[in-house]
Structure formats: structure tokens, C-alpha cells
């Protein structure tokens, strides 16, 4: 009985910590994105609210919350509101299976810094990722307006195409690790002394493309192509209801998928890797905090890379996007699976 209560308490604390970190960081990533975009275009970005605009996300939130709540005539109010929930919940749920660091002990209890170490974690991630299409489709449909509908149809087409590619892309690391559990994948990478990106570069590229496509980042932001569709499926939303969609799509989803990428390809919390030889840790002086810092650093680097891509590239046409998914990415991923299956026994030892 005691252990059940204790487990519940631990899980509750973990949920609070993860939600707090994810939503807080998600809000602040808007500031990061604006700064990066601005400096790439040689502007300083937000500068007035707080030191270098550090309080800008708070000001934005305040503005969004105090805005009038508009609803399009003849729209479906239930689905309209349901879309917001469907967007936010699956995206944040993904963080339940992301391991932030190795197991550690507090007062004699072993605690894994992962909410639920289920043995089908990756299945869960991509199941929840596919749920995102419902939010977009419902938002477009319930708005009773043509731009959102076109935008949501495009997004649905993209997600369906790239779900296939991303699933086959992660097959490589899964074969090498021999498990679907995210925690175990990282542990196996550390045991095999190998980041899977060294022998899975093709899978990584396919994964990155699919990541950009699923989160609607440039060069796949066709569902909210400003010049054609205003902002795509969020056109009819106002105030904080509007704010949640980009927050979820551009920040929380990108963050969760980058974290999964780090887990799958960059060895999670492990320090710098020399293939088959071992790990070099320049941050050894941090002691037990070092793995957490490494995880954070890798996710940050990947996120900044995605921002960098976003503010560099133009966008593909809708037919080029789906063509690339089916004609290039999918065959590449399949070939990669065959390649991995051939060399996997060498890695397993």
C-alpha cells in the first residue's frame, strides 16, 4: 500500500516538473525563435520589454489572453474547441516517454527521470504524433472557412505521407537497439559505445525531413503558406486559442521530436562519442548533473538547427513534398532497413 502511494507521489512530481518545463520552455522558445530570425535578417528582434526583450513572451501571453474571443458564423463550436485540446494533449503526452537522464537515487529510492518507461514507447510517440492530424483537420473543418480547410487538407496530406517515412526511418535504430523502450535504447547505445547516427545517417536525414514536415516547419510549411493561406488552419481562431496552435506545432512538437531524435541517434544523455571506442566527457566537472546537461545541450542544438533551416530555406510546392515522401524518402528508409538488418549482428556482438 505504501509503495503504491509513493509511486503515485513520484509520478505526480514528475508530471508537474515535466509539464512546467515543457510549457515554460515552449513559451520562451517563441522569444528564441524571434531572436534567431531577427539576427539572421540582421535585426535585433524584441528589445523593449525587459532586457533584450526577455519579458516579451509574458507580454505576448497577456495580450493573447485579453483578446476578444471570436467565433465564425455556422462553425461547429464543439469541434472548434475540441481541436485545441487535441492539438495540445498528444503533443505534451509525448514527453511522458522521453528519458532526460540516467537512473539516480534519492533517499534510497531509485528514480528514473522518465515518466513511464513503457516497452512500446516509440509506438506511443508515433501514435500520438499521428493524432496531431486530427487537431489540424478538425480545426480546418470546424472553422467553416476556406483557407483553414485548404490548409488542413494540405497538412493532413503531408502528415499521412511522412508518417510512413518516419516510421520506417526509426526502424533502423530500433533494429540496432533491439527494443522499443526509449530508456533502453539509450542504455544500449551506451553499452555498444555507438551513437546510431554514425551508421544511420540516411535514417537521420529521413527523420529530420519528416520532423520538419510533421511540425510544419520550413521547407514544408505549405499548410500555412502566408502568401496563399494567411495562416492556414488557424485563420478563424483568435486570442489564446490562436496562440496555442503555433505553440504546440512549432515549439512543443519540435521539441519532443528533437528529443526523440537525440534519444534515437545521438545517444540520449551520453557525452561525445567516438564510435566503438567510448565516450569523451568535457563536462566531467558537473559530476552527476553532466548527463542531464548533455541531453539539454543536444536538444537545444537540434532545435537551433531547425530554426536555422527555417529562416534559410524557401518552401516546397505541395506536390513536390508528397512526391519526395513517397518517391525518395520511403525507398531510402526501406533500403536503410535492409542495410541495417545486414550489419546489425556486427553491432549486437
Amino acid at each position: 500500500m505504501e509503495s503504491v502511494a509513493l509511486n503515485l507521489a513520484v509520478a505526480f512530481v514528475k508530471i508537474l516538473v515535466i509539464l512546467g518545463i515543457v510549457l515554460g520552455v515552449g513559451a520562451y522558445l517563441t522569444w528564441v525563435e524571434r531572436k534567431v530570425a531577427a539576427h539572421i535578417q540582421r535585426r535585433p528582434g524584441p528589445m523593449v520589454v525587459g532586457w533584450h526583450g526577455l519579458l516579451q513572451p509574458l507580454a505576448d501571453g497577456l495580450k493573447l489572453i485579453t483578446k476578444e474571443d471570436l467565433f465564425p458564423r455556422y462553425g461547429n463550436r464543439f469541434l472548434y474547441n475540441l481541436a485545441i485540446v487535441l492539438a495540445l494533449v498528444p503533443a505534451t503526452l509525448v514527453f511522458a516517454v522521453i528519458p532526460f537522464g540516467p537512473e539516480f537515487e534519492v533517499f534510497g529510492y531509485k528514480i528514473k527521470p522518465i515518466l513511464t518507461d513503457v516497452n512500446v514507447a516509440l509506438l506511443l510517440v508515433f501514435g500520438l504524433g499521428s493524432l496531431a492530424v486530427y487537431a489540424v483537420a478538425l480545426a480546418g473543418w470546424a472553422s467553416n472557412s476556406k483557407y483553414p480547410l485548404i490548409g488542413s487538407m494540405r497538412k493532413a496530406g503531408i502528415i499521412i505521407s511522412y508518417e510512413v517515412a518516419i516510421t520506417f526511418a526509426v526502424m533502423g535504430p530500433i533494429i540496432l537497439a533491439g527494443t522499443l523502450s526509449t530508456y533502453q535504447i539509450v542504455v544500449n547505445q551506451i553499452e555498444q559505445k555507438l551513437w546510431y547516427v554514425w551508421i544511420q545517417p540516411v535514417a537521420f536525414v529521413v527523420y529530420m525531413f519528416s520532423l520538419l514536415a510533421e511540425t510544419g516547419r520550413v521547407p514544408f510549411d505549405i499548410q500555412e503558406a502566408e502568401a496563399e493561406l494567411v495562416t492556414g488552419f488557424t485563420v478563424e481562431y483568435g486570442g489564446m486559442k490562436f496562440g496555442i496552435f503555433p505553440l504546440v506545432e512549432w515549439y512543443i512538437e519540435v521539441l519532443s521530436l528533437s528529443a526523440i531524435a537525440v534519444v534515437l541517434f545521438f545517444g540520449g544523455w551520453s557525452p561525445l562519442n567516438i564510435p566503438f571506442l567510448g565516450f569523451v566527457d568535457p563536462l566531467f566537472f558537473l559530476g552527476p548533473l553532466s548527463p542531464f546537461v548533455w541531453f539539454l545541450l543536444k536538444v537545444t542544438a537540434l532545435f537551433l538547427f531547425i530554426l536555422w533551416l527555417h529562416w534559410t530555406l524557401p518552401r516546397y510546392r505541395i506536390d513536390q513534398i508528397t512526391e519526395m515522401a513517397w518517391k525518395i524518402m520511403l525507398p531510402l528508409a526501406l533500403a536503410n532497413i535492409v542495410f541495417t538488418a545486414v550489419i546489425a549482428p556486427l553491432i549486437w556482438k
Binding site: A38, H39, R42, R43, P44, W308, L309, T312
Partner: protein, 213 residues
């Protein structure tokens, strides 16, 4: 006829290694780590060039009037010349030149000594496009445009410049900038300094005959 260019599509190697992506990314990262080129507007303000087309003003009588035009117009209309007040001779040429003439409201009045002087000169800037035709038309170099470009106001009434305001702006501008030589943008050293990072070099224009174009 279709012009053939010697540009090849990307080779397979270039596509596989994402060379085009890397080219673009290297450009943006270079810009991301160089100095910003913006002016932080409410805290820093640029000085516009002397011949900027901003708010309107009246030059006042100070002995620098264009001669003999000024004396001729004064004689023709029997204008009372008051030092320190507007040079306007109520010739209405500005109104005639204006594409939206109703924005001008100009009246003169007769003094007791039989001479005339401008009494009302209102410009409704809600209608103005700042084209500067009125400035070109002014025969006595009275109406002209200043470097004041912050024209926003809280009421429509504030958008109307009356005679007193025009004279006030004129005195202010004359004290600040009238001595400054007229400059073209291309040889404006001060202005070019802002773009020093670009190493902006304007081409020397070759004189071409009309037939060469």
C-alpha cells in the same frame, strides 16, 4: 527567342550531400553573427537629408529672398513686407499646382494702409501626398518641405497646418539647416556612413546620348 544559359541542374552528388542547403545555411549563419543594421527608432533617430519631403513650412522674411522675383511679386500684389513673418504673396500658385487643391485654404486681407498681407494659410495634410509640386511652384521660395517626418497625431485637427505653425516650423528649420549645402544622396557622406558595412559603391554614371538608350 529563348535565351540558353550555361547553368546546369544540381548533380546527384550535390543533391545527396545537400550542397545547396549548405550554401544557403552558410549565408544565413554569416549574417546571424554580424552586426545588426537597424536603428532603434524611438531611442535613436536618423537625420533625414536636407531636401527630405516632410512637413511643410513657410520661410520668413529675413533678407535672403530670391531677387528680383520677390520684389516683383511684392510690387505686383502690393504686399506689406513684415520682417520675421511669412514671405507668402498670396499668388495661389501652390494651390494651382496641387493635385488635391482643396487641401489649401489661402486668404489675404487688406490692411488700413491699402497694402495686402496673407491672413489665412491652412494646409490639410490628411489629403496631402507630399509630392512637392506646391514647393516647386512657389515663386518666392516661401513654401517648402522640412525634415520633420513624424507626422502622426491624435486628432484630425492636428493634421492641419495653419499660418502660425507653418511660420514656426519655418523659423525652426531655417535656424537649424538652412546653412547646410544642398546634397545629392550619392555624395552624402553622412548618409553613406550608415551603410559602411555594405561597402556601398555607387557606379559613376556615364553620360549617354539619348540615342544610345
Amino acid at each position: 527567342m529563348v535565351k540558353k544559359l550555361k547553368v546546369k541542374p544540381l548533380s546527384w552528388l550535390e543533391r545527396i550531400l545537400f550542397l545547396d542547403f549548405i550554401k544557403g545555411l552558410s549565408v544565413t549563419i554569416k549574417h546571424a553573427f554580424s552586426k545588426t543594421i537597424t536603428t532603434h527608432y524611438p531611442y535613436e533617430k536618423l537625420t533625414p537629408p536636407k531636401r527630405f519631403r516632410g512637413f511643410f513650412a513657410h520661410k520668413v522674411v529675413d533678407g535672403n529672398e530670391p531677387q528680383p522675383a520677390y520684389d516683383e511679386w511684392v510690387e505686383r500684389f502690393k504686399i506689406e513686407v513684415i520682417p520675421g513673418r511669412s514671405r507668402c504673396v498670396v499668388c495661389m500658385l501652390c494651390k494651382r499646382a496641387c493635385p488635391v487643391p482643396q487641401l489649401f485654404q489661402i486668404e489675404g486681407k487688406k490692411l488700413e494702409n491699402g497694402k495686402r498681407v496673407v491672413s489665412v494659410f491652412n494646409m490639410n495634410l490628411m489629403l496631402c501626398t507630399f509630392c512637392g509640386f506646391c514647393v516647386d511652384a512657389c515663386p518666392v521660395d516661401c513654401l517648402y518641405q522640412t525634415d520633420i517626418h513624424e507626422t502622426a497625431s491624435f486628432t484630425r485637427k492636428d493634421a492641419i497646418l495653419d499660418l502660425e505653425l507653418l511660420e514656426k516650423i519655418g523659423r525652426d528649420w531655417q535656424s537649424r539647416r538652412e546653412e547646410e549645402p544642398d546634397r545629392l544622396w550619392s555624395d552624402d557622406v553622412e548618409r553613406n556612413k550608415l551603410w559602411y558595412e555594405n561597402n556601398l559603391k555607387l557606379k559613376k554614371s556615364e553620360k549617354k546620348g539619348r540615342h544610345e538608350w
